[in-house]
């Protein structure tokens, strides 16, 4: 059998209406051979967890530019866990102040990427995270 495909949900929680970054990452992951489910703008944490459940993804990538990450990200993770998806890798991209990062990692975020991150790095990290999880 062929190697299991990595499935990633790319979601944008919150109210900012700008998804160029999310789309760039989605394309990079696709070009790296992953199956990327894209859900569009303005998703609540419940909606994101629900989509992750229906799609049985290995990874959830969140893109947040609004500054609401401290509130939204822990909610997404709490919803994933409430649904029983305790082993999903969560990463975060966007404009995240240095001071907030440790708190987010403590809540279970795998990694935080700022603007201008090399997408190859994201691909490599995801593959590694999924492999160690399995």
């Amino acid at each position: 059998m062929t190697e299991k495909k990595i499935r990633v949900l790319i979601a944008k929680p919150g109210l900012d209406g700008h998804d160029r970054g999310a789309k760039v990452v989605a394309r990079a992951l696709r070009d790296d051979g992953m199956e990327v489910i894209y859900t569009g703008l303005r998703q609540t944490p419940e909606m994101i967890a629900e989509a992750a459940l229906q799609e049985d993804v290995d990874v959830v990538g969140l893109s947040i530019l609004s500054g609401a990450h401290n509130a939204l990200v822990p909610q997404v993770i709490a919803n994933l866990q409430a649904n029983g998806q305790t082993d999903v890798v969560v990463f975060l991209g966007g404009i995240i102040p240095e001071d907030d990062i440790q708190n987010l990692l403590d809540h279970g975020v795998y990694k935080v990427y700022g603007p201008g991150t090399d997408t190859r790095e994201v691909c490599k990290d995801i593959r590694e995270a999924v492999k160690t999880k399995a």
Binding site: E35, Q54, G84
Partner: protein, 344 residues
């Protein structure tokens, strides 16, 4: 572990359902075992295929249609399988159909699953069918299957549906030419979506013409047939014929969705009354068994016949010393002799 998962699925646990869908899609041993068990609990769902060119509004239509189906038959759960192509170069895919189905997010009786075609041509149909069987066993009364209508493998996919809807939109190419030949013949219902755009009425009359021509042809054939047998035409004419309706919708505005839903439910009733529901089910099962039989026989063959023998015959054929046809005859003969011995 699997039987616990299957029990959870039977109790309506959606994470268990989702995990089993993945196992089945990946063709793991656990997935194959699960499907063997779950198949026995299938056979009640109404499977609806939605196909048509990219951008014609299939996902938007599925969104509107699902909401209407839930309103009309609230006791039935709805599953959606949305298939998008994988990149032939990297094997990756972007599956974006959910973006058009945001109205369905709050209803826990709806389950949307995106699926990449994974480059498997005929295999796509089998995988999609397998996923639809899991949903069927899990008690989903309607299963909507969205595929891009471009080639043969998509035709195969919609063949597993009871009701096939072909969607097009005006201005997608010269008068509806974007619908490929062959795909029209599989339509039980034709939809001209984006009817808010200019040219919709021309598209409708064009399609109606096509349907009438096709229908006239089949009537003619039948009359020939009847003359041959000197039978009473009234008695012998199947009362069951279905003429595909051509409907206009504006999916993004929920226009025409009532009529479309009526057509779908009428078609299901027609299939049941005419016995075609039963016939379609049987045909799908036969195709499924045939496909698996071919794969199984080929596997057996390769176990029985040494690869060197195959290689040497390929070489001989390449030197034009024998024909491929003769090579196959030799290989089958070898396989038969070998099988007789080993099956003791």
């Amino acid at each position: 572990m699997t039987s616990a998962l299957i029990d959870s699925l039977r109790k309506g646990n959606r994470l268990a359902l989702s995990r089993i869908l993945s196992q089945v899609e990946n063709g793991t041993d656990a997935g194959i075992a699960a499907l063997e068990e779950l198949f026995l609990e299938t056979g009640t769902a109404h499977k609806i295929g939605i196909t048509g060119p990219p951008g014609s509004g299939k996902s938007t239509l599925v969104n509107a249609l699902t909401r209407e189906l839930r309103r009309r038959e609230p006791e039935k759960k709805v599953a959606i399988i949305a298939v998008d192509p994988s990149s032939p170069f990297t094997g990756g895919a972007i599956l974006g159909d959910r973006v058009r189905m945001l109205d369905l997010q709050d209803d826990k009786q709806i389950f949307i699953r995106s699926m990449a075609s994974r480059g498997a041509l005929g295999g796509l149909a089998e995988q999609t069918e397998a996923l639809s069987q899991v949903f069927d066993a899990a008690g989903y009364g309607f299963i909507l299957i969205e595929t891009v209508g471009a080639g043969q493998s998509e035709v195969d996919v919609v063949n597993l549906a009871h009701t096939t809807i072909v969607v097009d939109a005006p201005g997608m190419g010269d008068d509806i030419q974007s619908i490929k030949a062959g795909i029209l013949e599989i339509a039980d219902i034709l939809v001209v979506n984006k009817a808010d755009r200019p040219g919709a009425d021309q598209s409708v009359s064009y399609l109606k013409n096509m349907v009438e021509m096709g229908y006239a042809r089949s009537i003619n054939n039948r009359n020939h047939h009847l003359e041959d047998f000197h039978e009473n035409p009234v008695e012998a004419t199947p009362s069951a014929d279905w003429i595909p309706p051509v409907l206009k919708t504006v999916a993004s505005e929920y226009q025409g969705i009532t009529e479309l839903t009526n057509a779908i439910l009428t078609h299901a009733a027609h299939l049941r009354q005419s016995g075609q529901w039963h016939a379609k089910d049987q045909a799908a099962i036969r195709t499924n068994i045939n496909h698996q039989l071919i794969a199984g026989l080929l596997k057996d063959f390769h176990q029985n016949v040494p690869a060197e023998l195959v290689d040497s015959l390929v070489e001989k054929a390449q030197k034009r010393a024998i024909s491929p046809n003769a090579a196959v005859r030799d290989l089958l003969a070898y396989n038969r002799n070998n099988t007789v011995e080993s099956s003791e």
